[in-house]
């Protein structure tokens, strides 16, 4: 029994993943400017319904916990009900339903333990700093990307400079909506 860790990001062609749905940024909500089509919406719905839990960094937790409890529908029901694990040393009592704080300073050790104990798919949306750490410690099993046809030119990237090379296997690729790419990469065998 071990969890499968799936990072999922909206990125620009230059790899920027910051604030695709809003938040404070030079181009807040930039991903909404593109039509991802019915296929793209279906991909995100299927992806979300496949999740057994979310693993989040502090900032993404704050953003999600501030938005999802006030929403209704399939996505919101799923996000609000499934277990959430937040890597943070500063978050006290989380208010969002079914949230557990992983409070140790050693995120890798915490996530490794969770990965051993949790059964199912743990998705990691956003959570830029946490994702760098997970990639660095080779805890990521799959990376789902929705690549939008724009160079943003500024902002946090899904892949900051990592010390180690990671070879991947492209498991799925398709174009959805108006030139948006859906890419699924898995750890290379």
């Amino acid at each position: 029994m071990a969890a499968r860790i799936v990072v999922t990001e909206f990125v620009s062609l230059d790899g920027v993943m910051e604030a695709p749905g809003g938040e404070d940024f030079k181009y807040p909500g930039w991903s909404f400017e593109f039509d991802r089509g019915d296929d793209g919406n279906q991909f995100k719905l299927d992806e979300t319904m496949r999740a057994d839990g979310l693993l989040l960094g502090r900032r993404t937790y704050d953003s999600f916990a501030g938005a999802w409890p006030h929403r209704e529908g399939e996505f919101a029901d799923k996000f609000n009900s499934m277990p959430k694990f937040v890597v943070s040393t500063t978050l006290g009592e989380p208010e969002w339903n079914n949230t557990t704080v992983l409070a140790s300073g050693d995120a890798t050790a915490q996530v490794r333990k969770l990965k051993d104990e949790f059964d199912g798919e743990l998705q990691v949306p956003g959570s830029q700093r946490l994702v760098q750490e997970l990639i660095g410690s080779d805890l990521v099993d799959q990376i789902n990307l929705m690549v939008f046809p724009v160079i943003l030119g500024t902002g946090k990237r899904a892949f900051e400079t990592t010390p180690d090379r990671r070879t991947l296997r492209l498991a799925e690729s398709k174009v959805v909506g108006d030139g948006v790419l859906v890419l699924v990469y898995e750890r290379a065998a």
Binding site: D14, R166, L170, G179
Partner: protein, 184 residues
Amino acid sequence: MRKIKAHFFISLDGVVESPDQWHFPYFDDEMGAAVGAGFAGVDAMLMGRVLYEEWAAYWPEHAEEPFGDVMKGMKKYVVSGSLESADWQNAEVVSGDVAGKLGAIKAGDGGDIAMSGSATTVRWLLRNGLLDELNLLVHPVVVGDGLARLFPADEESAPLELRSSETFKSGVLNLSYAPAAATD
């Protein structure tokens, strides 16, 4: 109108520097065909000074290699503010009013103009509305290592259109983007 078409080997994390360190495991027939197709209708190349100096030192000594003859005969435009002359056969320095001169070259007779590398020049062309195609062969590898990316931080934003996409058996993506047509 002649088109300027840029081609890059690029990693999933956007690295274009030193493809010799990460590209070769992914070179196969499909990629060879894509690279060849990139030269269809092309009769000139455009490059920055750094790539020019690298190639001008390499190709005349390796004329017998595949592409050796092609490289020798091809017209080479070199964008540089510091290079005074280009001694490589059929090479011409473009300096001063580079945008105006390239605009005139594009409006003149001839085939399309290919670029292979020269990230700095490609970014400049994109900013100045002179780039027609951005073709990326995206390799399924996170290179890391601090090698240079095609788009480093603090660039201007540029909307694009995805014109075509193809997935190779190796997991390499063959993507062709064009600058999005201005809407205003």
